[in-house]
Chain length 451, copies 2
């Protein structure tokens, strides 16, 4: 390339240039963004050589005291006054949900505005439409805050490990679930009690199903796999199990076997095909992922050349998430100032590929099984022979408790087996032991790599 | 800002555009870069919409078989044929050391070429000159590979956590030291034996002092603090201790007290002042940093708004480090293709500030002390009263062994104390117990935050 070195004109009065942002949705994260922009104003302006200013905010609730001072008239109830405004360069969408967030975002893009959003549900479901519109209009979409809160995992996958072929991502991406599971492990508490406490402390929603049934993790997995593998997956492609069925007993037995239970969102490449699943997983206690406790998140990435790497931090909360939103704002401001919006496609590559999914039944992994049985001679033998007939070999058995009701747990750790075979065997075992408490089946991650 | 939406011309024949790289230094990492560029050629070209090609390589050794196929004539002994070549857009410097690497890099910059380097020593010592030259010429300097190998920590600090005020970085940034300390902890082995084994396995250099005396970590800390705090520090600003004096006995007592010993490179803000130090540190065994084992590296970052985050991965090795080099190449290629070189200053901000250093004596931390004493009545009392007179209060004492020679270890964990007071007390204690084995003093990181 025999092009002369760059001689772009540089503004002679950079301090007078201004990038203007408008915010839609003035809740917890929105408040954090306003605080952070106020607190870091001088540093950000120095970094950019220009002013980055929030000029409009829309929220239906214009009255509530959020503990931040705003210029009079900045906060309005009508979102159109943000996304249609001529003096707004970037729209920050923090209202969440599918509609009307989708309509507002598309409206802003149509007017040539760049977008910053923390809305994983929106991107997981309407990402194709939104990224497509942004590409046509050559505007930026920043969505660092949509996965892993303050962890810069979007940049890591889009810019950091981009030279490598990433073959697996495993994420602890829901702080509520990780808080509950960590607490169950540390304190021997029951699921229901910890959930209630988390709700009281504001760490879990009044209706917690979005989190604890794994749906939030599945949304995030759709975004992670798009970035990591360049593939377009849909929410319904993801095999999704939550943590409701994880009993204190299972947490305890897992520890005894040398594992911690974590809700993992797992995407893995199998040739050109992709397997995607969210489920509680036994992680070896000495592994670095098992040390991710409380409300912390972590994304564990495996690359062909890079090997294992992990990105750890607070996955939620006002200020951590605000740092991700403002980092996107800064990047978009740099692009606007240098007239290079859309210099990198939002997902790092020009177009996603729709991959073949590996059927869940083809999965090969080790399993943890807990089967409640009447304490009668021969039961363990029957279970073992059903497993054997399905090609599943047993690594460890724990059977030691006696209960007043005559029902005792048999805990089995298997060697690697095929999901389809295991589910068939569990059906048979379920019929054998009765259905009042069906067998618990958790998958074991013995193949994590790392040190 | 009432500027119309970006309407930059986009090349109509992007596939015919080409970015050409030249490589100086064809050792282990260089070989990895060639392999990775060959293996990922199609994916990278698709990502860029252009060709990224390595066109020249210089190394004094043009004969050795490195296991990669190169076009005839590509490998030459003379570095000038790379950094002076008209057809090279980007120079990859992987020769290491100060000179002639500095001269080659400045030569390339002077000719308008961007730079990718893994040379932490060069940047730590000549960074001001090199970054200044790059700014004047408006070219990019990629140095992701200089710290943390394949961990994208440069991007994380420059682009990821940029909205926040980072107040501390703590890095396990030397794989050799972490391998030795992990092995001493896991296997109860002596320092000298593990070092020898690491040398045999190629994990430590024949002359290991650069690594085990902490100098390599100090170089990396200078780069990390520039990125994290925007400050210019010099190597001689860093208080540097290595791991030679860490005995198996200390690793064992640390474990007994609930800690793992890690060589940490620590930078922390204290108002506007900065404290920088490299030393073996006791890390609580349950903390996520203690789970960083073997040749893995991790950088633990603390931000005012973000709280704790950590970035973990392989800090060295042919292919992991090559992923960082090629990620830089891709970013630089994007900038060249869109004529936006130097769109972000290499350190994220226009200019570094020379900060005041916090004197080491002002440090406040908890300490681990091991003092070898003649097993005589009253010795422990004397030590305790010296500590007390210097305002140092004791948290735990371990004294249990009896040795044939009549010398036994007294192990003391202190509460937080001031370094200056502690060193004065140790002087006194050293005179008391004699100098044939001076007291061992390690710092304890009880203030790490996280979960």
């Amino acid at each position: 390339m025999e092009r002369p070195r760059s001689k772009r004109p540089v503004s002679t009065r950079p301090a007078e240039r201004e990038i203007r942002a408008g915010l839609i949705g003035f809740g917890t994260i929105g408040t954090g963004v306003v605080k952070l922009l106020q607190r870091r104003r001088a540093a950000i302006d120095a970094m950019l050589g220009a002013r980055l200013r929030l000029v409009r905010i829309a929220d239906l609730d214009t009255k509530r005291d959020r503990g931040v001072r705003l210029p009079k008239g900045m906060l309005v109830p009508d979102a159109r006054r943000v996304y249609e405004a001529d003096d707004v360069d970037v729209v920050i969408e923090l209202m969440g949900g599918y509609e009307p967030a989708r309509r507002f975002v598309l409206g802003a893009i149509g007017r040539g505005k760049s977008i910053v959003t923390a809305n994983k549900a929106l991107l997981a479901v309407h990402g194709r439409e939104i990224f497509g519109a942004a590409a046509r209009q050559r505007v930026d979409i920043g969505f660092e805050a949509s996965v892993g809160g303050g962890i810069p995992i979007v940049r890591v996958l889009r810019d950091g490990v981009v030279a490598d072929r990433t073959v697996a991502v495993r994420g602890i991406v829901n702080g509520t679930c990780n808080y509950i599971l960590s607490k169950m492990s540390a304190e021997g508490a029951q699921f229901e009690d910890v959930l209630l406490e988390a709700q009281t402390r504001g760490l879990a929603e009044a209706d917690p199903s979005f989190d604890i049934d794994g749906i939030d993790s599945a949304h995030k997995l759709v975004i992670l796999t798009a970035l990591a593998f360049g593939v377009e997956l849909h929410l319904e492609d993801v095999h999704t199990e939550g943590i409701r069925h994880v009993a204190q007993m299972d947490v305890g037995y897992a520890r005894e076997l040398g594992y911690e239970i974590k809700l993992l969102a797992i995407g893995s490449m199998c040739g050109d095909d992709v397997a995607v699943r969210v489920h509680p997983t036994l992680v070896p206690a000495a592994h670095v992922l098992a040390g991710v406790r409380g409300a912390f998140n972590a994304i564990y990435v495996e690359g062909e050349a890079l090997g294992s790497s992990m990105y750890y931090g607070l996955g939620a909360g006002m200020m951590p998430t605000a740092t991700a939103v403002v980092a996107d704002l800064i990047e978009i401001a740099r692009n606007r100032l240098q007239d290079t919006s859309a210099r990198v496609p939002p997902l790092g590559i020009p177009a996603l590929r729709r991959p073949k999914r590996v059927p869940m039944g083809d999965l090969r992994t080790a399993y943890y099984l807990r089967i409640m049985v009447r304490d009668r001679p021969g039961v363990l033998g029957n279970i073992a022979s059903i497993l054997g007939r399905h090609g599943i070999s047993i690594a460890t058995v724990i059977q030691k408790e006696r209960s007043a009701g005559g029902t005792v747990p048999v805990v089995i750790r298997t060697h690697e087996a095929r999901e389809r075979d295991l589910q068939r065997a569990l059906d048979r075992i379920g019929r054998l032991v009765g259905t009042q408490s069906p067998p618990v089946c958790l998958r074991i991650a013995d193949d994590l790599g790392g040190a």
